[in-house]
Structure formats: C-alpha cells, structure tokens
Amino acid sequence: MTITTTASPATDLGYLLYKHPDRVANFSQSFGTATVFYPRADAETCTAALLLEVDPIRLVKSRGRQSPDFSLGQYVNDRPYAASSLFAVALGKVFATARSGRCDTRPELAKTAIPLELFLPAVPCRGGVEVAHRLFAPLGWEVDARPVPLHDSFPEWGDSRYVSLRLTGTVRLADALNHLYVLLPVLDDAKHYWIDIGEVDKLVRSGGGWLAAHPARNLITRRYLGNRRGLHRVAHARLAELDESGTELDPPVEEESAPEPSDDTPDAPAPTVPLATRRHEAVLAALRDSGAARVIDLGCGSGKLLELLAADPRFTTIAGTDASTHALRLAERRLRLDRAGDRMAARINLFQGALTYHDDRFSGYDAAVLMEVIEHVDPPRLAALTSVVFGSASPATVVVTTPNVEYNRVYEMPDGALRHPDHRFEWDRAQFAHWAEETAARYGYRVDVSGVGEEDAVAGHPTQMGVFRRG
C-alpha cells in the first residue's frame, strides 16, 4: 500500500505517521514482517509505502490440525499478496499512534483534512468494484477501483475477486487509516480466523461517527458477524477439499423460502407471516388432525419444528433426526436439552441418521415429517428414501412438504434457478402430485395434496404439502 500526500510540506507525512521518511522501519508480526519506507519524499509529494510480507508456512505451522482453516489453501494463499484482513491488522499495529489521531509535533495537521491518495494494488473485494464504491465513497473518497483479471491465458475465467483500489480525497490521515483498518476486512469478507474478532468488534462498535452514519452500516456489521464458523465443520471441509469440486458443504440448516435478501434489506416489504412459519403451522395442523402422539421429524435441521412440537403436550414422544451432526447440535441448543428436566429430556430424542439407510430407530412413531427434505436428495436416490420412510418405518401418517417451482416466478427468480444451492430438484404441482400418488399406491397409503403460503392465481402456493395416511 502506498499513502501519498501533496500537502505542503509533503514530508510532514513522516510526522503524522511517526515514521521517518529517510529510514526503513521493520515491524515483526506473528505472521510475517511489515516494512515502512518512502519511495518518494520531497516538499511537493511524499509517498509512504507499507509492505507486508506474510509467511504462509508460519501461518500454517502455528495452527493446529483441528483448526478450521487447516487446509490446502494455506500454503497456496492470497494473504502474502493481497491487502486482506491480515494486512489490516498489520496496518493497525504499525500505524497505531497515527490512527489515534495523536501527533505531538504537528497536532494541528493531525486534525486537518489533507489531500491524500491511498493505493492498494490487490484488495480482495467480494461483490466487486461496486462494493468498494459503496463503502468508500460515502466517506469522502473518490474511488478508482479496477478489477484484476484471473488469468491472462484464460480470459473466459473473467475477473478475480481482487480490485486494484485507488482512493483520492481530502481526509484526516487518522480517519483514512481507520477507514482501511475497518473496511479492508469487510471487503475481504473471508474467514477471519487469524485476526482477533474481539478487537475488531470493539472497533466496529466504537468506529466513530463515520461508521455509525455510514449508509452501508448493515452490510459492514453483517460481514463482520456473519463470518464466524465453528470447529465442527472441520471433517467436512476436509472431504470437500479432497473432492476438489469446490462445492460448499454447509448443510441447509435453516433455509429461506425466498432467495436470500440482498445487502440492503431494510426497505423491502416484509410478508405478513413468513413462509417458514406458515409451513410449520400447516405441518402441525396436519399432525394434530392425524391424532398422532409420537412424531419423528426426518431431516429436522436445527429443530425449529421440534421446538413447536415440544410446546404441545399432545405430542408425547418426539424425535428428530438429521444426517448433519452440526444441525443436530444446533437443535440440541435450541431445545436446551442440556438443561431440560427429566420428563422433557425423555420426551425428545435427537440422533444422527440418514434417510437412505434403513433404520429401526425410525420405527414406532405415529407420524413422520419430511419437511423441505426430499428436494435435497438426488432423484436417483429418492426411491431409497421412500423405501426407508414408507416401506420400512411406515408410520400411520407421513407429512411431506417441498417447494413448488412454479412459484419461483412470483419471486422473480430467473428461469431454472432453484431456491437453495443444495436443492437437487424443485417440482411443479403436477410432478409432486405424480410422485405422491405413485408413492402412496406403492406403499399402501392414501394422500391429500395441498399448498401452503400466499396463493398466486397462476403459480399456486409457494410450498406444496402431501399428507399420507396408511391404509
């Protein structure tokens, strides 16, 4: 990064930064070395450069085998080149005094907005140049952000996630440094494992007036808080990496019924009752109608439905199962099973299971729920699921919900787009009805198909529901 000023005398930049223009200063960091030097320093123009050399091997070796970022990515890492969150940490430390706005030798200058140009040749920027503009322009910067192409030999690959960022403006130096310190990690939006989240959170909270008044404040805080991940995905991350396909393994723990809201949600008109809630209500109503007392939620995710079932005493035995141990942990937390009384604990049973494997533990219930589950199963494997649920577990009642793909156009989704990246298919009403009838006939059930949610005259309901009754 270079910081250039044309304030007169320009070399006063050295006082503000507490770094002498004619010296080369080294600062040792836990992950590498930062060097400050001045490629140019005269009365008209003074440029300070901060060069951070990150040692990726030290980064790797300092982290345990169980840490979530233990992956191939670490030696092949952009941190040694890009102005990432790691760079922000170095910047924060090296220019700690300057950031505080203190300057014993030039106190007035420190309080004054001066002409500055900040240049960072490679800034990881999720969302592209547009996000860079949204973050820096409101702070008084003229933003020149240019995308860096991925590879000259493969123009079809398009642009990388990096931009070369040039900010020009008349800004107080301390503010300029703080802008970068806070906003570089926001642009990066990558895993923050190697920085102290507590430290950054503090800054986000006390980020001064500029942060509180920032129009993209929601985006800034969300990106900070949204990127914490637990250790529990480690095993899966390894398998994903092994597969080299680069697909996201995170399970669909709780999904949105509509496409994910964009970064500026506040003005979007909220539907009166969220679809997920209406779906829960519909499933609960079907279960109550069936007279079931023992209910199993197959693919319970983080346990929202289980929580609702637990609140109704007519459900005497409740079970939840999911293939994801991560989801089950969330469900356990939601249901507060660790603190539940003996009766409650005896009433609810959570266990890992896969719906393509026959399992005695699925048997013995009056009703089973497959809420937004079947669309996560590859079509060739669906027969195994129906055999397990309808043929083997065969409860008196099975409640199935799944998206109605016809409704996606009401959401103004592009043709062929699905509501969740893990969805293997979404059916229209005819397809669902066909499957429901066929399954019912094969396993000796009767089925009623209906819809859940705000009905559209043409597309029908956003969610389709089938209630299967044996016999």
């Binding site: 030097f37 085998r65 030696y75 990096y162 398998l239 396909s245 026959h358 996560h376 065969s394 893990d422």
Partner: protein, 849 residues
C-alpha cells in the same frame, strides 16, 4: 464315578442348600468366568456377599450377566441355592429367551453337614433355621423339578459329589466338522423323478432295490447332499422320495432337515387329528399303499429330523424356512418354529397364506443360509441367504446349490403336479432385498480385512461419512470401491528437493524388495469407473440398469450432468468391447481406477477460487512492490535485500501461474476430456487388483489402442531393478524428463509375487505405492515461494507416519471391498469397507502429503 452329560452351549443351574458345597463343586469343574454366583453379585451391589437385603438387586445383576453370556453363546453355571421353584423358573425362562437348553445339578447333602460347614465360616451366621428351611424347600421341589423345563436334572448324592465328571455334548445341529462339499437340494414335495434327474445331473450314482427303486445314492467325489425338508406332500411319489433320502442319510451320503410338511405328515401317520390340506391327502394315500413296515420306518425317520444344521465350520446353515443369525446353533421352541415355518407375522395374505417377515433382507450373519419353504421364481442371493424352493411340484424347477462353488443346478418339472394357490411370482417387495441399514455403517465400527485384520473406524469419522454418503454419493450399489490415499516418498536427507525417486527406491529396498515399477502420475482428477456391458449385466450384478458410473474419490458422480456420464461410459464401453474384454474375462461389467484429465474439468471452480486468485493477487501486487522498492533504492534507502526478495517472488509467482495453467484446458462437453485408466479393479468373480502391474500396463495400453474417440490415454511405466545402480539412475532420469515436461510425477509400486499383498522381510505390510512428485507440481501444493531456501528448509520437515498408516488402512479396506465384490458378497458387505474408506478420509492428516 458319575458322568454328567450337558450340552456344550447351555445353562447349568446348581441346586443345593447353603453349605452344600456348590461353590467348591463349581470351582472344581468350571472356569471362574463360567460361574456366576449369587454371593458374588451380592458383593457387587452391596460390598457384602452376605447382605441379604441386597438380594433382589443382586439377582437383577445375576440375570443380566447370565443373559448376556447366553446371548453370546457361552456355557454358564449359576451358583445359587435355587431351592425354590420360582428362582429356577426365572433361570429357565432366561435360557429359553436366549434359545439354549438348561440342565440342573442337585447336590443332596445332609443338612447337618451343611450346617457344620456354615458354622465353620465366620461370615455365615444367618441362624439355625435357614438350612432346615432350604432343605424342606428342596425336598418339596424334587417332586416336580423334572417337569419344570430342564432338559435333564442330574441328582448327586453326597457320596457322588466328589467323583462327578462333566462331559460336553455338541448340539444336535452342530455338524460344523463336516466340510462338504455339499449339494443342497430345495423342496422336493414328492417329485421323485425330478429328484433322480437332479441327483444324476449332480453326479450321484444310485443304489436300487430289487424292484428297481432308488434306495440310496452316492457321489464318487464324496459330496454330500443336503435336503432342506418338505420331501413330501402334493407330488406323485412322496414315499419314493423318503425311501431314497432315508437311504442316503443312513449311508451318510446325505443330511436332511425337517420341513413343516414332514411334521404334519408324521402327526397324520401317527393317527393324530390334523387338517388334511396342502397336498397331505396325496401323501396319506401314497403311504397307505406302502407296507406297514416301511410306513413306520419312514415316520420314525421323519420324526427324527432336526430343524437345522450348522455345517462347514459354521459357515453354512441349512434350515427349511431359513434361520436368523441369533438362532444358529440354538435350541428352543421358537428356533424350531422359525426353522420350520419362517418368521410369520400372524397375518395372512389375500390367498389365505401366512405373511412372513422378510428376515433375509435384514440378515447380516457370517454364515451362508440355504433354505426353501417359500416358492420363488428363481433362486437368488439375498445377503448371503438363498431360497432354493423353485416350485418343482407346481411345474417350476427342482434346484440344487453346489457349495462352496455357489453354483445353481436345476431341472425342470415333468408336469404341473399340483396347482399353486398363489402365482409363482412374489408380490412386489416393500423394500429392496439388499437395502442398506444404518447398522451397516453407523457408530464405531471394526471392519475385518484380509490384509491388516481388524481396521477400526471411529464414530465421529463414521458420522462425517454418513452425512456425505447420504447427501452426495451415488447409488451405493454402484459405489463398489473408493481409492486409498497415497503417501509421498520420504524427503531426501540432503539437497533442497522435497521429493525425489531415490528415497522411494531406498524405502522398498530396505524392506527387502528388489523390483519396483514406476508409473506416470497423470495430473487430473481421480475417477473410478464402473462400466457395464448392457442393462442385463448391470441389473444382474448391481441391481441397477444403466451404463454404470463415473465417480470421484469421495463417491460423488464425477459429472453432474447424467448425459456426460453416459457419454463417457459409452466411449469406454466401446473400447472394452473392441478389446474383447467382455468375453476374454467372462464378465458383463468392469471397475477401473483412472485419472480424468484435464484437472480443470472437475477442479475448475477450485482452480479459479484458489490458484488463479492467488496468482492474480500476486500479479497485481508484486510488480507494484518491486517498483516502489526500486524507487526507494534510488533515493538511497537500504532496501536492497527486500528488493531482491520481492523480485524473486515476482518470478516465483510467474512460475506458479504457469504450473497450474499447464493442467487447465477448456473442454466442450466430452470433447477434450481424457481418461487414463491405470488399473483394472474388478470383473465378475475376479479381484483384478491382485494381477501383476505388468498385466495392468499391457491391458490398459491395449484398451487405449482400441479407443477410436481419442478419450482413453495410456499410462507410461518403467520397471526398475533396485539392485542395479544404473537402472535406478535411468529411472531418476525418466522421472526428471517427465516432470520437466510439466508432468506431476510418478508412482512407485513394489513388484512381488502377490501384487496386492506386499510384505517386508520382517513380515509387515509395506506401502502399496509411494508417490514422487516433481518440483514444478509441488509449487501448486506448497505455494509459489516454496523454493525459497528458508521455506524449503522448513517444508522438508514433514511427518509421514500418520499418512502412511492411513494409506495402508485404506488400501486394505479397498482391497477388501474388491475381494468381497468379486466373491459375490452381499451389497452391505461391499459397502462396509467402502464406507470405511470414506470415514477414514475425514481423519486429520496433512492434505499436502
């Protein structure tokens, strides 16, 4: 001397008053672990063996321990007074629950003597009224004890106790010493002519009586026939069938288990009232025409038939209606009933026939179970069980299973002798007969492998694999193998390279191996290919129609578009057909291990997100860094070392950029996609992974030669004599040429007599392969600047132990899966080691190795 004969697997209940010497008696005759005493259990739950208040809890524990031992088939002795009928009743019920017989041994000791013994013990002071009371209870018990359900009650008078000796009788069903080979014959139902034809086909030679009737048969190679019961009823000559089988059993050339029809016929012949149905009338008529003497002999023979046999060291079980594993070798009313009638649910179907629980679908036992009873259109394996009743009497066939060959031999019925009540085709099953169960994969597991013995899978790894298996992997019926991970060669002790062929050669040489083969390592993505000749072969072997599958190291379909999978398989199938492999290997399917190129086909997203991104960031940042440092240097600042370093890093970044770009190539559909099969894994009845490396090399080159689409690529290899320095040097040069040309590197494999199982001089399994990657490729693994001296020095310190242990375990599992697949094992048995590989792959091991 008194000899007491007890069943080898049974519960022995000691009965005697306190002080009668039960414990010393037990200590003399049995191992300490075989004897569970009430005193011991009292001690367990109260710290005081004589605390009578703890008795109820103590007996709970006693029953639990005894029950567990019986479930596990262990001979168990209960040392408690057992003078009250209630106490004995509970123990008898426990034995029945676990389908073992119970014997009682009563020690009759003079109560005065018992009292004296107790008086001499300081810890036994429960008063003088106790022993007389127990003695009275015992005397009362003796009247009815023989009717309580013990198989036998052995009463020992005081003077017999010391001289008693135990003899253990094997169970009637235990014929494990017979190793066959066997010919197991399905339900005959009076079809004598077909039986004679079948036995002739199987190679038996008949003995005939004066009237020309077959009264015996013998196989010149000493094979033994085994009849699954239901010799009689419905058919035209039940007496003739009984005459022949009876003769064979008497001569020791056949075994026969009881069928439900024999049981009923015996009752009817004895004049007891039974419902005459299901072809019994025909039998009675036929037997009435026989002389009285034969009738009696036949009835005695049929009455003496037992319900099941365990044969061939316990690897084969024959029972009329089949038998679940927990009943093998057991004896109880329920076991007999299961063996005769099957696992009936009590319901009847639309034809009025009993509905049977499909026990075979859940069968996970080690023994092969051959049975009959339920008519099926074809004899088919379901989880190592097979029903041989192919409805001869209904106009079907009479079928025999040759064991251990697992060959079926059948002869058609000469007529429809009896009209079936229900059509021969079974109703649609509610689940696939070979469906997988959570129990087959879940929790902490131990998988038996031929190479390494027991390989353990930890619960958390199994949990991770279960999620992957249920959400991402292809149909498990086609997922018959997953490739093991592979360790790199040791880091050279000197120099600045991280990998080099010499340490790999040294590794094998030090393990006593003199010959290795070096195999070019293609830089693409691993792909396992299951290709089938046609739908018929696919359904026959895998139960799934279609061309097969192409899947990744974690069992996902390689292509998300089924059309691409089908297209690639079609190209491979054509080459296999052109190479004549279907006929040459007598198979309708093949499994191949291959590398699919280019790398960018599958790893495209990873390459863009990871490698190209890093390269783009470096390309943007480093020139700027070099420029400002040069400016600072011009100002006279001391940045020379930094400038030099950043200049080198700029060069490293360019090399990195070229290194991964070399493995990227745009493809359009399948155009540009190449498959390099380097090993054939399995075909019908054959684990091809056990073939020599040279064979794989020749066959894969041949296969590539028969490909007309430019898809199949050959793999270069080179044999090396490790004792010849010149040959080694030439191999190093070969590797250098490969890697200089942008190749990933090579794999070094030991060449020994048994390709699959390589042991060191010390008798320990050796790494099946070591990879030696080139310096250019390693830049992709270790990062652009890995060649900087201070980085290389640190990276050279790698720990390979964990990786090697994992590689060996996964290799053993993969080989096991192929052995099981080739051996025709049920699907769950193939899935077990495959799933275990997936689970082990989630273990934390440095992914760069």
């Amino acid at each position: 001397m008194v000899e007491i004969r007890v069943p080898a697997m049974s519960l022995l209940v000691l009965v005697g008053v306190s002080g009668s010497g039960k414990s010393s008696f037990a200590a003399r005759h049995f191992r300490p672990t075989q004897v569970i005493s009430s005193d011991f259990c009292r001690g367990l739950v109260s710290d005081d063996e004589n605390d009578q208040t703890s008795t109820p809890d103590a007996f709970d524990v006693l029953h639990y321990i005894v029950g567990t031992r019986l479930r596990r088939g262990l001979f168990t002795v209960v040392d408690a007074t057992n003078v009250q009928p209630e106490a004995r009743r509970e123990l008898i019920a426990l034995a029945r629950r676990h389908h073992v017989l119970a014997d009682a041994v009563v020690l009759e000791v003079d109560p005065a003597e018992a009292q004296r013994r107790n008086d001499s013990r300081a810890d036994r002071d429960f008063g003088t009224h106790v022993i007389p009371r127990q003695h009275r209870e015992l005397r009362r018990s003796m009247r009815g004890i023989r009717r309580e359900g013990f198989r036998r009650v052995h009463v020992l008078a005081a003077d017999q106790i010391d001289s008693a000796r135990f003899e253990y009788e094997p169970a009637w069903s235990d014929r494990t010493a017979l190793t066959g080979p066997f010919d197991i014959v399905g339900d005959v139902h009076g079809c004598r002519a077909e039986l004679e034809t079948l036995l002739t086909r199987l190679g038996y030679e008949f003995t005939r009586d004066a009237e020309g009737r077959a009264v015996g048969a013998e196989h010149p190679e000493g094979r033994t026939a085994v009849f699954v019961g239901d010799l009689v009823d419905r058919g035209p000559d039940s007496p003739g069938v009984v005459r022949l089988v009876m003769g064979m059993v008497a001569a020791g050339t056949a075994l026969c288990v009881a069928g439900n029809h024999e049981v009923k016929l015996v009752k009817a012949l004895a004049g007891r009232k039974v419902k005459i149905a299901h072809g019994l009338a025909e039998s009675l008529e036929q037997f009435d025409a026989e002389p009285e003497e034969f009738r009696k002999e036949a009835a005695a023979f049929m009455e003496g038939l037992i319900s099941h046999y365990r044969l061939d060291g316990g690897r084969l079980v024959v029972a009329h209606a089949g038998l679940k594993e927990e009943y093998h070798g057991r004896a109880s009313g329920r076991v007999r009933s299961f063996a005769l009638y099957g696992d009936t649910t009590g319901e009847t179907d639309e034809y009025g026939l009993p509905v049977r629980y499909p026990w075979a679908e859940e069968y996970r036992g080690k023994a092969v179970v051959a049975y009959g009873h339920t008519t099926v259109p074809d004899a088919e394996w379901v989880n190592d069980t097979i029903c041989l009743d192919t409805g001869c009497v209904f106009g079907g066939r009479l079928t025999a299973l040759r064991y251990p060959e697992r060959e079926l031999v059948a002869v058609p019925a000469e007529a429809v002798w009896y009209e079936p009540v229900r059509p021969l085709a079974p109703p649609t099953p509610v689940r696939e007969p070979d469906a997988l169960h959570y129990r087959d994969v879940g929790g902490t597991r131990v998988v038996e492998t031929g190479l390494l013995g027991r390989v353990k899978v930890r619960e958390e790894n199994a949990a991770a694999a279960l999620e992957i298996a249920s959400r991402f992997t292809i149909d498990p019926r086609l997922l018959v193998y997953l490739p093991p991970t592979m360790s790199p060669a040791d880091t050279p002790s000197e120099g600045d390279l991280i990998e080099h062929p010499e340490p790999a050669f040294d590794h094998y040489r030090s393990n006593g191996i003199t010959r290795v083969t070096c195999q070019e390592k293609h830089m693409g993505s691993r792909a396992v290919v299951v290709v089938t000749r046609d739908d018929e072969a696919a359904v026959h072997r895998f139960g799934v129609a279609g061309p097969g599958a192409v899947y990744t190291r974690t069992g996902r379909s390689f292509f998300s578009d089924p059309a691409l999978t089908a297209g690639l398989l079609e190209r491979i199938r054509s080459a296999v057909t052109a190479a004549g492999l279907w006929d040459r290997w007598q198979t309708g399917w093949l499994v191949l291990d291959a590398e699919l190129l280019p790398w960018s086909v599958k790893a495209g997203r990873l390459i863009r997100d990871q490698y190209a991104s890093v390269s783009a960031a470096a390309g943007a940042a480093l020139p700027e860094a070099v420029a400002v440092l040069a400016a600072a240097a011009d100002r006279g600042l001391d940045v020379a070392p930094l400038l030099a370093r950043e200049t080198r890093r700029l060069d490293n970044a360019a090399r990195f950029r070229d290194a991964f770009a070399a493995y990227c190539r745009p493809v359009d559909g399948l155009n540009g996609v190449e498959l390099a099969p380097f090993q054939f894994l399995a075909a019908e009845g054959q684990n091809l992974a056990r073939r020599p490396h040279t064979w794989h090399q020749e066959e894969s080159t041949r296969l590539a030669g028969h490909d007309t689409t430019g898809t199949i690529r050959a793999t270069r290899t080179r044999a090396v004599d490790l004792t010849d320095p010149a040959d080694r040097a030439a191999a190093v040069a070969w590797w250098t040429t490969l890697t200089d040309a942008g190749g990933e590197g090579m794999v070094v494999k030991p060449v020994t007599a048994d390709t699959a199982v390589v042991m060191s001089d010390a008798g320990r399994p050796v790494q099946p392969a070591l990879k030696v990657r080139g310096p250019g490729y390693l830049r992709i693994v270790y990062g652009p600047d890995y060649t900087e001296p201070e980085n290389t020095a640190r990276l050279r310190q790698r720990f390979l132990g964990r990786k090697r242990s994992l590689a060996l375990r996964e290799y053993a599992l993969g080989l096991e899966a192929l052995d099981r697949l080739a051996g025709g094992a049920p699907m769950w048995r193939v899935h077990e080691p495959v799933f275990a590989v997936l689970a082990l792959e989630s273990e934390p091991v440095d992914p760069r190795l």
